[in-house]
Symmetry: D2
Subunit: 347 residues, 4 copies
């Protein structure tokens, strides 16, 4: 079988290098082009020495004609780039997987409010699927454009889905307390993300509201058909990779730990990348480090009316590049876990 021909636009950041790491050992695909205007001519292995020996490829100028020769193009770019090229690429039959936010929110007024500029291709939204296969697999199969989800939404929506689908919780007062490693802030030089600043410290951030909030509200509304009241506070953890979300919701009626455990296990029993932990145990972010797994636990503290779910992912894998590859696998009818069978690095 001919391998899927892959292009990457903007591969100089952390999601870019992570895509390259995953695709280096993906047996059914081949990266044929990677573009970066600022790094044109630089070999990817010179920028990312972990890739020495795996790629001879250099960054090239973004050229839509070159990208049209690909079967799929990943956008690991700032917001706004993918939508500038998606119409032409999809018209040429190329699948687009956007790891930024251009296509994540259906309501484009909401989108514009949070992202600060007009959406330039509203007509493409009909061809978009939100690329969380565990929730929208059938849509992904048929889409031309995949809106690859944000990292927080991945960890939080997977945790809430069983409860929301079964209509078990009050949707007006959900609390999501998220915690992310610093790679989530990207590779741009910044004082706040210096090792001397972020190490040995922990903080909440995002006081004005985090852009992942409307993304989650949008999808929860789709899943439930109802209005959503969600309070989301993100926090920064002094570690490189990993994301944990602790979600609190009020049960509509009392439920036992066992019933909830069953519900979660049943919901995810056929999924490659969601692992419901045994009752009484907790996931740790390191249990997903470097892998595409989301691991979660559900519990009811003191048998009360509050249900708590804690879920972990690697923000760069299931929260970004890994889920993108998972979506590619689905789009091209490969095994969904093809090239994604990494064992988490522990210790």
């Amino acid at each position: 079988m001919k391998k899927v021909q892959v292009g990457i636009v903007g591969g100089t950041g952390y999601t870019g290098v992570e895509l390259l790491r995953l695709l280096a050992n993906h047996p059914q695909s081949e990266v044929i082009a990677i573009t970066s205007r600022s790094e044109m001519g630089v070999k990817v292995a010179d920028m990312y020495p972990n890739l020495r020996g795996f790629y001879d490829l250099a960054f090239s100028e973004p050229d839509v004609n070159v990208l049209k020769a690909c079967d799929v193009v990943f956008f690991a770019t700032p917001h706004g780039v993918a939508m500038s090229m998606a119409p032409e690429l999809t018209a040429a039959g190329v699948k687009v997987i956007d790891l930024a936010a251009d296509f994540r929110i259906n309501d484009l007024d909401v989108w514009s409010k949070w992202y600060g500029f007009e959406h330039t291709c509203p007509e493409m939204m009909a061809h978009v699927a939100y690329g969380m296969p565990e929730l929208f697999r059938e849509e992904v199969k048929k889409a031309n454009i995949i809106a690859n989800p944000g990292c927080y939404p991945t960890s939080i929506l997977l945790a809430l889905m069983p409860l929301v689908k079964a209509d078990l919780i009050e949707l007006s007062g959900i609390i999501a307390d998220g915690k992310s490693g610093v790679s989530g802030a990207g590779k741009g030089a910044s004082v706040a993300m210096l090792g001397a600043e972020m190490s040995e410290s922990f903080k909440a951030y995002g006081v004005g509201g985090h852009r992942h909030l409307p993304e989650m509200v949008d999808k929860l509304q789709v899943l439930s058909g109802q209005d959503i009241g969600l309070t989301f506070v993100p926090h920064l953890v002094p570690m490189i990779r990993g994301m944990e979300s602790t979600i609190y919701a009020t049960l509509k009626q009392p439920m036992s730990q066992e019933t909830l455990q069953d519900l979660f296990e049943t919901t995810y029993q056929n999924e490659y990348f969601v692992d419901v932990m045994p009752a009484g145990s907790f996931p740790e972010t390191r249990m997903a480090k470097g892998s595409n797994m989301c691991r979660m636990s559900v519990f009811v503290p003191q048998g009360g009316s509050t249900v708590v779910i804690t879920s972990v992912i690697d923000n760069l894998v299931k929260g970004a590049a890994g889920q993108a590859v998972q979506n590619m696998n689905i789009l091209f009818d490969l095994e969904e876990n093809c090239g994604l069978q990494h064992v988490a690095l522990l210790p």
Copy 2:
């Protein structure tokens, strides 16, 4: 003025060495005895080389007669030790400050349930104050025994107090999401706390319920006179020191950010050790590292009905040894911040 003569029982753990660090430069006190059965004869500076040059003292056998010569005895011991010696010491006029949990919960049935054994001196509870001066300063002044608060309760109760005292929130559905550095787990050898295990990872823990929960419920009931519904999930952060708590509550009626900011600033304007951050900024745990400060921010995300407070402390200082020294200062009529004016270590 004669310096306060200090004894420390069980000073081999992290709260013990932190007491020694703080008292080394305390101008109005003097450590005259430190006991540890297991380390008898070992110089404290041999066990803790940061103390080289500051102490010539060695660990001695716990001997109540030696301790009776002190003005105050700190217990940095496992639960149950302080209550075995408190009656005799207080009878001799010695003040007792217990950094463990023996005297933290008024309802001794609740206490026994969570700590797993009978309380041996219920008759002493009348002489106990819960040593959080910002809430119970007058009680501390008059007490013979100080129940030095747990670290989570310190960060959470200080954050909730302004709202609870002013009766602004629903008390039936409070959420407290706590995060602690690993020094909170103490100095005992354990696989789970190895550097190779806890580094670069984040997790929730305490599924069965954390002992700080009943302590907080007890004090919130005292403050409010009402029943409390509190969900508390603690988490482990890959850092040595520091604790952050993010607290979520439902406002009884809508309030502006400005009103709440005013309330918090006014409440704490005369306190040495509580710092309300400017509106729009967030505290980081490193802003308290090595110091006795609690720093906090209050906000109302998206102007909704949920109020969020994030508060930080150094779990070993304001969350343990520093607050204990603060209580000692009050008991002996010293300036409350005497010996506690450390600037947090940043970076």
Copy 3:
């Protein structure tokens, strides 16, 4: 082709779980038994949740008859275990790969002095190869027992080999300054390795002499046929994985940077797992994290007579489990990099 049938004795430590991680995706081998007396009956995925979904295997009692059914048995055990079982296993035609030190030093008097007990099977030493394929590949092919090298020796011998083989340095005054992440200390509970102890600190250790010193001296003598004067000081780095060694030697006669760069590149041009970095760049331990690569740079500061090599490995992979699998591949005539093509995890 029938897969290589693998047994692991003592797989509960960090080299054990790392073997399991690597073998989980090894296409030509299969783990059929893993033993641990203390954890008998426990599923490996319950002890190491990163293995959930990859292994259904449980720890079993060490039973030489079960192990005889294997093609190869890895010993990830304390020193002394492999030599107690190696004679019987090798007699049954089973290859033995010992990740401990039982067979690392040819001079058994030296061995006994450093390890503190008598060697129990000196007659087996004739069948042993020191499993560093880049130095002793032909010996490995023919051996029945592989002495898998220590982590420091791996990073240091690979760095020194080109210079020693070409007789370019004074052998009487070599300095090796080694630095290791904390996973090198293993998974045993210990106060010194607690996260609260080792984080944010750096130290030399091993004042009495580290056991890797005689191992390195032994192999350098084999390579050079001369006496060796080596000073080795190990240090502990506050990170989980990774090892860097900086080696200083005196050039017998002046050599240019270019000549040395050529020498190193030529020496290792056909090796899968040794990467000589471009002149002027330095390896970082993260460039090997999770992979079997050793990356190194050579330079001559200020054009003087001292040559400096800095080399990095992942102590658990090329420094332990990865090199062991590399040896297995050679023993069973598989591609040497089979199952070992991991891209280092960066960031």
Copy 4:
């Protein structure tokens, strides 16, 4: 007694905030001006929240007339700034303490070669003392300008001094293997120093030669009156604060561990800030964290001819701001440890 009036030029970096931390509790000095052109008008406590409650001061424009009102001015600036203002300030009777490198090397040709520009006030060099009191205390007392030493030179020169003064080692082949926490790289935004880049990794750097090398060679020549051959390789440690140097030298004639231990203990017995550890123990950087101590051990591995010293400091304290305050204390005839009695923060 009137307090020493202190000015700080360029206090926005890590040495600046550390000076402010130390001076906040210094009983005999008072910071009256702090300048930064880029941050003019910003309160220091807004930039460094750990200073909230300690300073009401804001950054002001650098104005030599304001600075002339000070008794002493610290320069926590890039190289080249102090020498532009030192002549005018010293002419006005103000003492200058430069934490940058403007006055560290006596041979200005060497200086220009390493720092890349001409020295603008060679005539001032006669009034300069190299501010390492343990080596040059008498010179410090009389100087108008203090060249505050670099961090690596502090940890390395203090370790070598006893051996050099007693003429015990070969000066032609000294090896210094240095390791620094990331705060040494300063507070400028940079990709290489991002938490996601430097965490969980270790590397050598400075291939072209580090500027601290000529500084050390210069001072060793002064101490010994002889030519010096020093190889220095710095490394980056994944931690915020702390510096360790392991130094290797060849003994001119065999010496016992005991003799060397005695030499070191005797040399430093009257120093406040140098602590020779007991024989057989090693210093850890955390034993100096936040304090002005240098702790060191000396040993002779395997009783050979190589002597090894390992010494630790906090790079921001004894390696920068703390030593600067120590120099200030000497200049103004205060107790040398005034305001510098911090116990290292452990854990």
